[in-house]
């Protein structure tokens, strides 16, 4: 549960930070298409993270988890090439959430098997 919230938080921070960079001049990222891409991917992460809250398993959750991982990797790479440490930190947070959720799910399954 906490993992999904962290993913959503990572997405929220990512979207907010990249929106700031997109609008505010001085960082040489204002108006850049690459930043727009990150705003969209972060918002998707936020939505997907929220959609994951309360879902423990099932096909939808599995697809969301896979897509979120791709989103985190892609957005993280973008953050690296945009040279925006705050955005990279947000993606690290989302990744932490993803790992926490994976561990939590694995633990739940092992309890069920036991």
């Amino acid at each position: 549960m906490k993992g999904a919230w962290l993913i959503a938080l990572g997405g929220l921070i990512g979207a907010a930070v990249s929106a700031y960079y997109y609008v505010v001049p001085g960082y040489n990222l204002d108006g850049e298409h690459g930043v727009l891409l990150v705003i969209i991917s972060s918002l998707l992460m936020l939505v997907a993270g929220l959609a994951l809250v309360g879902r423990k398993g099932g096909l939808v959750a599995g697809i969301l988890v896979a897509l979120i991982l791709l989103d985190i990797i892609g957005t993280g790479l973008c953050a690296y090439f945009l040279e925006t440490p705050v955005l990279m930190a947000a993606m690290a947070l989302a990744l932490l959430g993803w790992v926490m959720r994976a561990i939590s799910n694995a633990a739940d399954k092992s309890v069920e098997i036991a």
């Binding site: 001049p25 001085g26 960082y27 040489n28 990222l29 850049e32 298409h33 690459g34 930043v35 891409l37 973008c78 090439f81 945009l82 040279e83």
Partner: protein
């Protein structure tokens, strides 16, 4: 404490240096004997871009901080009237002077950036052929000033509708004796085939009491246009002293331009001005101008007082690639075989460094005539041979860089398929109807900033681009559908009056504008001009693509130029990523960098004021490089 001692010790040296670098009619003012000035676009009239300042060293450059930063307000970021600001500020007369692309002069305090006075040429409503463009101002001072009289020191600003404004350097008020109340209509002297008003975006060269003035035009739009001229005018009054006609009279109904749009350099000892002469119109089809025109695409030396030709050397024969000679030659005295040779280095879009005896025009290092491919376009006759400089090593290779596998893969083979359809026989492949690879192309090579030299060692540094473009000649009836009555539209230029219009494309993918050719896209090189040996060559700068910073090893296309300081530093902006950098002269390693608001597309000014060294960049940008434009003037200094 050590700095104070250093400056006392350097006092005498500074005075001598100031005298040496003052050049032309620029007199060093009393009270600033310890200051290192920067009184011309190229640092001095010899275009050496060298500073004797010693405070900033390779050891402490990492500590450089913004000393001040101002915004002129003169910027248009989008649309057809967007600004292109490639000014190098001047520091002289205890003031930093800079021209803006909306034709204003800012005179600011050198240590604070606070405005002393502001002059408005009121040219912003009169944009003609060049749009909003400016490369700065020129400065002149009377050798024997008349006490109490204004305009004994003058700052000059050109506009793109052909007026030159003369302003008192102390007060910012127009000089009444110059032209008509301080404004000279230079356009009055451009009467032949006057398709447009001439653009004075580059400040004039200064020799004693003579200003030498070139101009910019449009050479892709028409076949016959204003023919290239250079004017010598009186610095005090603006009276015309002489005119140098570049295109022979008998050819003026077939062609035009071949003007001097870049800065010039001056040998103050010998009274010679050196002109980098551009290509004749129309730039990409020469079938109507096959007659030999010896002064076009040349470096030409004139007597600065009279305009008489001392020597001229054509560097491209029958140019059909728009490979203008586009930067002021850098003057230096080369030590070779036990002799001192008064020399110049002419950097070019072709990536050749022509090293010539500046008194005779004879090559210091050999120039060969090499055969090149013939044109397959009806009516066109490409030159059978072209000058080739094998040594010093050209900054650009002879063969087109290979297709970049990464881009080719991402574009699903678009790059390699496109290249296979084009004519590509390396350097000087003539433009064709099916499309030809142009490498080096109109972007260059070396752009209008040229190189810099440490005159004490003759270490020469130059940045260079590696850009592949595609040149296509289009029959006029076909082009008319795209041009729709205009002389330029959607990547087409009319070359009106000739058989073919012209289509220019960058060799990039349709989706995303990714370069189809292998990096590096730009380099910085250092040469020992006493031997001609290449000392180092490294990728320089970084591309910022849609916000993403690409690897340093790919380099960047650069517009702007380096300067060298006595302590072995190179300062340069120029890169697409809108960073300014300090580079180690010995190794080429980047020692410091700082983000500015747009690419600094001219060389910075380096000066010392009240014992403190400043490096000032105009971060204006140029739409050729990136869409990122600004009006920031920013100075760096040690804390």
């Amino acid at each position: 404490m050590n700095r104070k001692l250093l400056f006392v010790a350097l006092g005498a040296v500074s005075v001598a240096a100031a005298a040496l670098f003052a050049g032309g009619g620029v007199a060093q003012m009393a009270g600033e004997a310890n200051d290192q000035i920067w009184d011309a676009f190229g640092g001095n009239q010899q275009a050496q871009k060298y500073s004797t300042a010693t405070q900033i060293t390779p050891g402490n450059v990492k500590d450089l901080k913004v000393a001040w930063s101002i915004h002129t307000g003169d910027v248009v970021k989008t649309g057809p009237k967007q600004t292109n600001w490639g000014a190098t500020p001047l520091f002289v007369n205890n003031t930093v002077y800079v021209g803006t692309p909306m034709f204003r002069i800012f005179a600011v305090e050198p240590d604070t950036g606070k405005t002393k006075w502001l002059y408005d040429a009121q040219g912003s409503k009169r944009v003609d052929n060049q749009g909003y463009k400016n490369r700065g101002v020129a400065y002149w001072a009377a050798a024997t000033p008349e006490s109490g009289q204004p305009c004994q020191k003058i700052v000059y600003l050109g506009t793109v509708d052909g007026t030159l404004h003369a302003v008192d350097a102390d007060s910012g008020k127009r000089c009444a004796n110059f032209g008509n109340g301080g404004v000279l209509d230079v356009n009055q002297w451009s009467t032949v085939n006057a398709k447009w008003k001439i653009g004075l975006l580059q400040p004039p060269a200064v020799y004693k009491d003579t200003l030498i003035l070139g101009w910019a035009g449009l050479d892709w739009d028409y076949k016959t246009e204003n023919p290239g001229t250079v004017f010598g005018i009186d610095a005090r009054t603006g009276a015309l002293k002489w005119t140098f006609n570049i295109i022979p009279k008998e050819m003026q109904d077939q062609t035009g331009t071949a003007n001097v749009w870049a800065s010039m350099s001056v040998d103050p000892e010998n009274g010679i001005v050196y002109l980098p002469v551009s290509s004749p119109s129309p730039n990409y089809y020469g079938g109507d101008r096959l007659t030999e025109m010896p002064y076009v695409t040349s470096t030409t030396a004139l007597k600065a007082e009279t305009g008489e030709v001392v020597w001229s050397r054509q560097l491209i024969h029958h140019d059909i690639w728009d490979l203008d000679i586009n930067s002021a030659p850098t003057l230096m005295d080369i030590k070779k075989d036990g002799q001192t040779i008064p020399a110049l280095v002419q950097a070019t879009k072709m990536g050749f460094l022509f090293v010539l005896n500046r008194l005779t025009g004879e090559p210091v290092y050999p120039i060969e005539e090499r055969p090149y491919p013939a044109s397959d376009v009806p009516g066109e006759v490409a030159a059978k041979t072209q000058p080739y400089v094998p040594y010093p090593e050209p900054t650009v290779g002879d063969k087109t860089p290979d297709v970049f596998p990464l881009t080719d893969m991402i574009s699903l083979g678009e790059c390699s398929r496109w290249k296979a359809r084009l004519r590509d026989e390396g350097r000087y492949t003539p433009p064709s109807i099916r499309g030809s690879i142009a490498y080096p192309a109109t972007v260059g090579g070396v752009e209008w900033g040229g190189g810099a030299v440490d005159p004490t060692t003759n270490t020469y540094v130059v940045n260079s681009d590696s850009v592949v473009q595609v040149y296509t000649l289009v029959p006029q009836e076909e082009a008319a559908k795209v041009l729709q009555g205009k002389t330029r539209n959607a990547g087409y230029w009319a070359q009106e009056g000739s058989r073919y219009a012209f289509k220019l494309q960058n060799f990039v993918t349709r989706l995303g504008d990714m370069p189809c050719w292998k990096p590096p896209y730009g380099t910085l090189s250092s040469y020992d001009m006493n031997t001609g040996k290449l000392l180092w060559k490294k990728p320089f700068g970084r591309v910022q693509w849609n916000g993403f910073y690409l690897p340093e090893s790919w380099g960047s296309v650069t517009i702007g130029a380096p300067v060298i300081t006595k302590t072995g530093l190179i300062f340069i902006g120029a890169s697409m990523d809108a960073h300014v950098r300090a580079v180690d002269l010995k190794t080429g390693d980047v020692l410091w960098k700082h983000r500015v608001e747009a690419p600094a597309v001219a060389q910075p000014a380096v000066y010392t004021y009240k014992g403190k060294q400043y490096v000032v960049f105009a971060a204006g940008g140029n739409s050729i490089l990136t869409p990122r434009l600004s009006d920031q003037l920013v100075a760096f200094a040690l804390p």
